[in-house]
């Protein structure tokens, strides 16, 4: 691997990581939110919205910095990511409004994710028949909604006290593993470094947020940030399937989406036995399993990309 490639990858990790650290620290600078009362509730809502905005707007800014300028309106598939991140921010504000019914929430999310997928691949879909377009979008929406639901479920787990704080960091960890895993699978499996840097930016921002959590245990990705970040990562995986030559791209995307599913399932299975650190570790190992499987397949069948 040449120094230019290493520099590009390092830049894609360090800059968003620093931004995540500083921006999330700013949002959660004050003491942990009050657990009851109107003031605490309003502060929680504000922080969920601000955290979502940090992730979406931070991603858009980092995309510009790491991957270069994009045209508006987007003309190419890879120019859609900053726009999609901002649209997913609206998703979070709209779908995660308090009082929204879960079923309505997931249907809305699936529809908007499908709309973003269709828009980003419209150059390709123009030459396709309707049936495969609908099939691809339906699978994408289902996979993305599943990943988002699992990630948001993990981030929202635990109601108060130490349990809630564990849920907070687990939500960040789950998105971090999902994003870094997608980065690896797109880069090694699909041979697209540029597309791979999309989840890398999200993962690096999660890394910054994880550091903030060490000082501000109230930091949570529930109610918006997890959904926004996961939707961007899913869009990158969807484009990996559509726009690369990798014959196993669909397998890598499926394995990546299984990561947050495994994280959530492991949490349910180990909640009673290992409520603390051990439980988090077990969840992380479970989430890493499909990613490492995908990487093993990619390295065995294709090897690292040439530059």
């Amino acid at each position: 691997m040449s120094i230019e490639v290493i520099t590009q990858l390092a830049w894609g990790a360090v800059a968003p990581g620093l931004l995540g650290l500083i921006a999330f620290l700013a949002v959660w600078w004050s003491r942990a939110p009050a657990r009851s009362g109107a003031g605490g509730r309003a502060r929680s809502i504000f922080r969920a919205a601000a955290g979502t905005a940090v992730l979406a707007m931070g991603y858009a800014a980092m995309h510009r910095l790491v991957l270069g300028r994009t045209a508006f309106p987007p003309a190419r598939s890879d120019e859609w990511f900053p726009v999609a991140a901002l649209v997913f921010m609206l998703l979070a504000h709209g779908v995660y409004a308090p009082g929204a019914r879960p079923l309505v929430r997931w249907i809305m999310m699936g529809l908007l994710v499908a709309a973003a997928g269709w828009a980003s691949a419209s150059n390709l879909f123009r030459t396709w028949e309707a049936a495969p377009i609908v099939a691809h979008l339906a699978l994408f929406a289902a996979g993305a909604t599943l990943a988002v639901a699992c990630l948001d479920g993990v981030a929202s787990s635990g109601s108060q006290g130490a349990e809630a704080q564990q849920g907070n960091v687990r939500g960040v960890l789950a998105l971090l593993i999902f994003a870094v895993g997608a980065h690896q699978l797109l880069t090694i499996g699909c041979h697209t470094m540029k597309l791979g840097q999309v989840p890398q930016i999200i993962g690096a921002m999660c890394g910054g947020a994880a550091l903030v959590w060490l000082f501000r245990r109230g930091l949570t990705f529930a109610g918006g940030p997890a959904a926004t970040g996961a939707a961007v990562v899913c869009l990158a995986l969807f484009q990996g399937v559509l726009f690369t030559d990798a014959p196993l791209a669909w397998l890598y995307a499926t394995l990546a989406v299984l990561s947050p599913v495994c994280f959530a399932c492991a949490g349910v299975l180990t909640a009673r036995r290992w409520p603390g650190f051990k439980g988090g570790l077990a969840q992380s190992v479970a989430a890493a399993l499909p990613i490492t499987t995908g990487m093993a397949v990619a390295l065995a069948t294709a090897g690292a990309p040439e530059e």
Binding site: S2, Q8, L67, A75, R76, V87, L90, N123, T244, E307
Partner: protein
């Protein structure tokens, strides 16, 4: 429940916005297309005896050469009436060959050509000026990765003759020109692979 409805409205607006943006994007991206059929009297490019080779500098050290395996199009250089000349070339991006399958996959990805999204590179000559017996200056549009830009290239008339079996007429043209890939939205890893890419085209056509 009201908030759910508001959420639905927000989502609907966002979805419509995406649809509108996709329409605009598609319109500006519709630059590439398949080559037009050869006009009557023009030479139809013979892909078997034509070559498209590119040269790019790797890590600012060495010149790397690769090729495109397929090329289509037609040409006719009319010495008596240069205004009636034509030159139209279409190169399927999927045919890029860098002598390494993994690197070809990388080159076809969105990092570079985004071959599935933009399946062809095209050149269409618009103005022809005869500079000497064999040299022509051709002003035309080159379309690559959804971006169309005017370019002036020197085209050499490399000869005419009879076909292999003495039937029909064949002719050859050649051109070498340089483009900046960043001007066509191909701006990834400019430190590793040079911005300037030299393209060498040698065409043989028959009619």
């Amino acid at each position: 429940m009201n908030r759910t409805i508001i959420g639905g409205v927000v989502m609907g607006v966002a979805g419509l916005g995406l649809a509108a943006l996709a329409g605009n994007g598609a319109a500006s991206a519709r630059a590439s297309g398949t080559g037009a059929p050869a006009a009557e009297g023009a030479f139809k490019v013979d892909a078997v005896h034509s070559s498209v080779v590119y040269r790019v500098k790797h890590l600012n050290v060495s010149n790397f050469y690769g090729r495109f395996g397929k090329v289509e199009g037609s040409f006719a250089l009319n010495k008596a009436d240069p205004g009636k000349s034509e030159l139209s070339v279409t190169i399927p991006t999927d045919s890029i060959d860098s002598n390494n399958a993994k690197r070809d996959g990388h080159l076809k990805s969105q990092d570079f050509f985004s071959a599935k999204e933009f399946p062809t590179i095209t050149f269409k000559g618009k103005a022809f000026t005869k500079k000497s017996d064999t040299a022509w200056e051709v002003v035309g549009d080159i379309s690559l990765k959804g971006v169309t830009k005017p370019i002036t290239v020197t085209v050499e008339d490399t000869g005419t003759g009879k076909g292999m079996r003495g039937q029909g007429e064949i002719a050859g043209v050649a051109s070498t020109f340089t483009i900046k890939r960043s001007e066509f939205g191909m701006n990834y890893m400019l430190d590793g692979l040079s911005d300037e890419v030299t393209i060498m085209v040698g065409l043989e056509g028959a009619r």
